[in-house]
Amino acid sequence: MTRRPVELPAVAARALDGRPAPGGRGVLTVILLLTLGWTAFQVDWGDAVPRTGGLGVLRSLLGGIVRPDLSSETLSRAVEATWLTIVYAVAGLTLALALGLPLGVMASGAIAPPRVRRASMVVGRGVLAAMRAVHELVWAWLFVVAVGLSPAAAVLAIGIPYGGILGRIYADLLNDLPEAPLRALRVAGAGRIEALAYGRVPMTLPDLVAYTFYRFECALRASAIMGFVGLGGLGFEIQIALADLDYRQVGTYLAALVLLIAAVEAWSALVRNEVAR
């Protein structure tokens, strides 16, 4: 199988240069392992359960999870809280898509003219990095301070960092592609945007969809967390139930969260199958 002539030894040489020498890699591995070991000593473990009676609380919590509160009152509150959690997550992810898709395409440099390609990548990646550098919970605090306890705060708090994460992954996926089909499209007369629509996006669609679904799952968890800063939803109910020491209610809300994630996973598997067919 030696018939394809190598026409780009310069590229191959560069690829080889970029690879660290085998000896260098070994040294790097040892340094990384040592660093990992050292960090374990930097954590002040103290006592594993510092509060007196903490073990008893843990036991009650586990009991609550095994025997959740199934009274109609709690169940209807769980349904309502679940719905609110879904709404925040969907709205947040929609905003994340609206921000992440265009910024991701920009950061990939796929449609930028050669002269401004570097600039497009640097600016795009910079903006995306800034968006995701701040955690959603911190964004939530900031927006609660700015706009008060409104749904807008939750949606923005999810949409901005998730847009940054989605855009970053989209940019990598759209860039890291086999060159040959794109070259063939170019010869067929495709410009950069046509090559994006007829080449890059279809070639990566299964990965784009799978990753977006995974992020939706994360958005649901983040949305539940929003409750802890007072924005309602499952996290809010869990917080109140914990304050009331009603561990069976806590169990109910946790179960709702698990069911919600499982449902999304099932839906995602269905869609991924459809795309991969």
């Binding site: 089909p181 499209l185 007829y198």
Partner: protein, 263 residues
């Protein structure tokens, strides 16, 4: 040769280097409109480089290469795609797209951006695609996902895309080297027949010399980036072909390098 009709391709002292390696030494070549030319030669002789230069995928390092009277690099993308198109050894289709959309991509050089994007959702020109697919023996397969097709079928999809693009000159880089002998012969036969029926200039690199001799009018043999011989296929002798592919002492010495390079 007709007066005032520019040749399909004209190379003058054409050079291409990759780093320290010379892929094409000063090379002169003239291919008239409507000719069918087979490029033969050992691995690394510069066949693929020459075809990539002809398609505008690479820019020359020296000399010039004209496509229908004008340097290849001077045509804009739409103008060039109307004059030259290419199919490759590995088909180079988009596996996740339907056969229909891969073939429709041949229109991207003449469609406006809006039309191209609309056609992804509501395909434009499906009727023409059906006709072309029938010509290459794939009738009724338009809705299938391209990755589901066999290698031989995918190469026919690539040919169909090239026919929809309908450029003046058709280039084919080792179009059959990943097919079995029977399918290879059938595809070369189809390619030559369709090119001649459409009045296209055809330039194909082949590693099977027999296919070149039986189906093409003219054979251009490359070795070490230069033309070794160039004549009517019927006049090429077996002795010449043996010379073309014979390993020299130096080649044998560097055989290991050549083999690893060719993977």
């Amino acid at each position: 040769m007709t007066e005032g009709r520019p040749p399909a391709f004209e190379a003058r002292a054409l050079e291409k280097h990759f780093g320290a390696r010379t892929a094409l030494a000063p090379l002169d070549l003239r291919i008239e409109q409507g000719e069918s030319v087979a490029l033969v030669g050992p691995s690394g002789s510069g066949k693929t480089t020459l075809l990539n230069l002809m398609a505008g995928l690479l820019a020359p390092d020296g000399g010039e290469l004209r496509l229908l009277g004008r340097p290849v690099q001077d045509w804009d993308r739409r103008g060039r795609s109307a004059r030259v198109g290419m199919m490759h050894q590995q088909f180079d289709l988009v596996p996740n797209l339907s056969v229909l959309h891969n073939v429709l991509a041949g229109n991207l050089g003449r469609w406006s951006l809006g039309r191209a994007l609309r056609s992804l959702v509501a395909p434009v020109g499906g009727g023409e695609v059906e006709e072309v697919l029938a010509e290459v023996g794939l009738e009724g397969r338009a809705r299938e996902r391209t990755s589901r097709l066999s290698g031989g079928e995918q190469q026919r999809v690539a040919l169909a895309r090239l026919l929809v693009q309908n450029p003046h000159a058709l280039l084919a880089d080792e179009p059959v080297s990943s097919l079995d002998p029977a399918r290879a012969e059938a595809l070369v036969e189809l390619l030559v027949r369709l090119a001649s029926a459409g009045g296209h200039t055809l330039v194909a690199s082949l590693h099977t010399v027999e296919l070149a001799r039986h189906h093409f009018a003219r054979i251009v043999a490359l070795r070490d980036g230069a033309v070794m011989f160039d004549r009517a296929a019927a006049e090429v002798t077996s002795g010449e072909l043996e010379m073309l592919y014979r390993l020299e002492a130096a080649d044998v010495a560097s055989g290991t390098a050549a083999l690893t390079e060719g993977v």
